[in-house]
Amino acid sequence: MSSESSPVAAVCNITKRFPGVLANDGISLEFHGGEIHVLLGENGAGKSTLIGMLAGMHQPDAGEIWIGGRPVTFRSPRESLALGVGTVFQHGLLVPSLTVIENLMLGGRWWRPLGYATALARFRQLSRLLGLSIDPHAAAGRLSLGEQQQIEILRALWREGRLLILDEPTAMLTPQGAQHLGSVMRRLKEQGLALLLVTHKLPEACQWGDRISVLRRGRLIGQISPDTLRRTNAAQTRETALGMMFGGEAATGNGEASRRERRSGRGRRGDRTTPPRLSVRGLRTAATPGECPLSEVSFDLWPGEILGIAGVDGNGQKHLAEVLAGQRHALQGQITLEGWEVTAEDAAGRRRRGIRYITDDRLNEATVGGFSVAINLLLKDIGDPPYWRHGIGDFELIHRHAREVIRSNDIRTPSEKTPLGRLSGGNIQKVVLARELDRETAVAILSKPTHGLDLHNCLLARERILDDELLVISDRIAVMFQGRLTGVVENGAGAARAVARLMTGDVGP
């Protein structure tokens, strides 16, 4: 369906530098109408920077952007929008307190009165095109994440778009939602729109892409053209793409067989001969705006096992982690650790008993960037002996301890006194893990531990084949949906499908 005629848009030799890193290095790409061009790459490969420039958020240091055959400069998002480039970013960019239609009317000339009639007409037109049914007068903050994304797509197409850019659009969607998105994209393709889909998920790329370009460390490593895609089968495409993404380090296996193999090499999964180390019964938390509370969560956790908690973001996972860690109050329920009930203990108390929580927000919750590595290593032990005696810190000891930890965990830092913020993401994670995982750890709660890291820095996941690491390393997978555990799946054949079903709330047989 894609034509090899002149591209709707193109980037030529684009280069962009940020302090300390070359984000994009001489990238050239073309985007044709009626074609879904997938931009594939690991986190940190430079995809966000590239679309940032297409969206007008920053300017390239070198190279050009061409729209409709002419070079252009976008000094602001307004200019890129005006030239028909619409972007749907990964994190919702709607104003929650305004209605849908008001959000869509944002950005018009300020001296003109609001044209509700025209806006509503266009809304209905685009809704029909995309097959949507959303009330234009609903408050944007009340829509589900999937609906919000649909409105964003609508907004991106509001002014006669030529190129639609979608940045990791399935991150917040259920598998069903992703399928719906796919059909929307197909419709737009048939209308002649050029689509740029940015993702790190290989299956998606192969399923939807008419053309696949692979970025790695800021460079365009390779491209799979539409012809190639037509000629080869899915498995071969994946191989090729994997090869481009990771060079020689890619796993040659794919699919569940090799995953199972790798995992069984780990050893026994969970010692069922002893009583469970952690028992959770009937946990319930209070609702807070914008977050999903727990309504009734119970499970057991045995020594030596990894229980993965799957589910679309926003179904209670964060509450669960925080309740277990003691950071959030449980309205009801019991938590028992090795036979002791710990429900009444606060976070510090639970930590002492061996419950460790590694949060997903490494920079804004787990550490203080301005403090030294040494202090960050002891952030949860402030005031405790032997590092503090009678409330006064023994800095000699603190720094010695830090040097030890740095050495044994291979943390790359100029010194233990360096502010943590200067370290790379991977080393910051090493610091956090070193802090939380020690001899006294009885239960570790890890929230997206490899989030935002490139392959080399994953300590726990052996292989991040761009899809569920949960499926790779977990012994059992529990799925959360709307604050409940809808089911627990033993990892094995058919696990992925079962998990996907459970994620949408489909609890049936």
Binding site: P19, G326, A347, A348, F371, L379, G383, W388, G391
Partner: protein, 346 residues
């Protein structure tokens, strides 16, 4: 070694350049008013620093300023905007002025002084409890609540002076005098003990924040409340503790000013140091030792300026203008310095 000296030079420059700019802008204002800036600055310097009498006054002036600074450092390090300093200062002063003359009849001087200082600190701390709890429990913005309590407190203190605590033996509305013999003893010429107390307070606060567990907890809270919660710290308790401690120190400042200098509170007296010290503390980047240096400089300006008001006809609040200019120039310089450094790191 060269790198270190370069760094030290940079730090000095970072302060001297904005200072020069501020003095320059101030000079322009003086010129527009028809005054001679060099004469003014020269006079201020001489009067505030270079004469023995002036120097003593300057040192005396640093006492309340340093205590307020100590209090502000505690609050700002914890990320708490305690802008209620004026009210806390006055209430501490009035509590002292009210209690002192009563106690001195029954207790020896030492005990009276200590009791008065304690009462002042306690009063100010209690006054700050409302905004503290509002913030700790309900997340009410303390900028607004502490400002409101400040005005409320200042008026309330004034009311007390004019009614309950009023000295009925004189026509002038004020509290009964605390005789000079019963005030804080002098340690150097006319400079009273309070200056040493204030200095000690600032140093202790600095050490407490940088070396103790409580201080570190404050810093964590100030850096990021989410991290504080994650680290298992009791955010509510730390918020209230630091807020009230901050107010207590400021109240102590008010007490010392009475016990050391005035011996009484006159109606409508309000030196309004509470907000004035905020820029000083920021200029010093919340560092105790730098605060001491800056406060001394500002005290020189204030004493010199107060005298210059009479002699040269430049109203004493000109110092406020200089301070504001200094803060703005410093903030600008730092900003551009950061931008320049970020560009160089590419």
């Amino acid at each position: 070694m060269r790198g270190e000296t370069q760094e030290r030079l940079a730090i000095v420059l970072r302060v001297m350049v904005p200072a020069a700019l501020a003095l320059g802008a101030g000079a322009i204002i003086l010129l527009m008013l028809g005054r001679d800036p060099l004469a003014y600055y020269g006079y201020v310097l001489k009067r505030g620093l270079l004469t023995w009498g002036g120097l003593q006054e300057t040192l005396t002036r640093t006492a309340p300023l340093l205590l307020i600074a100590a209090g502000l450092i505690v609050a700002f390090r914890a990320g708490i905007w305690n802008l209620g300093g004026d009210g806390q200062f006055l209430l501490g002063a009035v509590a002292t002025a009210g209690l002192g003359p009563l106690l001195i009849d029954v207790l020896p001087r030492g005990a009276t002084l200590i009791a008065c200082m304690a009462a002042a600190a306690l009063t100010a701390a209690l006054w700050s409890l409302i905004p503290a709890v509002l913030k700790a429990r309900y997340g009410v913005n303390e900028v607004v609540s502490s400002l409101m309590m400040s005005f409320l407190g200042a008026s309330f203190a004034n009311l007390l002076v004019k009614t309950v605590l009023r000295d009925r033996t004189t026509a002038v509305p004020k509290t009964p005098d605390l005789p000079v013999a019963d005030r804080l003893p002098p340690v150097l010429g006319n400079v009273h003990l309070g200056v040493l107390i204030a200095l000690a307070a600032v140093v202790l606060v600095h050490l407490a924040i940088t070396r103790t567990a409580f201080g570190l907890k404050l810093q964590v809270l100030g850096a990021n409340p989410a991290v504080a919660r994650h680290a298992g710290l009791n955010v509510t308790w730390i918020t209230i503790a630091s807020f009230t401690l901050s107010a207590a120190l400021i109240g102590l400042g008010g007490s010392i000013e009475i016990l050391g200098v005035w011996g009484t509170v006159r109606a409508d007296w309000n030196p309004a140091f509470g907000l004035l010290v905020v820029p000083i503390v920021f200029l010093a980047r919340l560092n105790g030792y730098a605060v001491i240096v800056f406060t001394l400089c500002v005290a020189v300006l204030m004493i010199g300026g107060e005298s210059a008001a009479r002699r040269l006809g430049v109203q004493q609040h000109f110092v406020w203008v200089l301070l504001a200019l200094l803060l703005i120039f410093l903030a600008l310089l730092e900003h551009f310095d950061q931008v320049r450094r970020a560009r160089r790191a590419i």
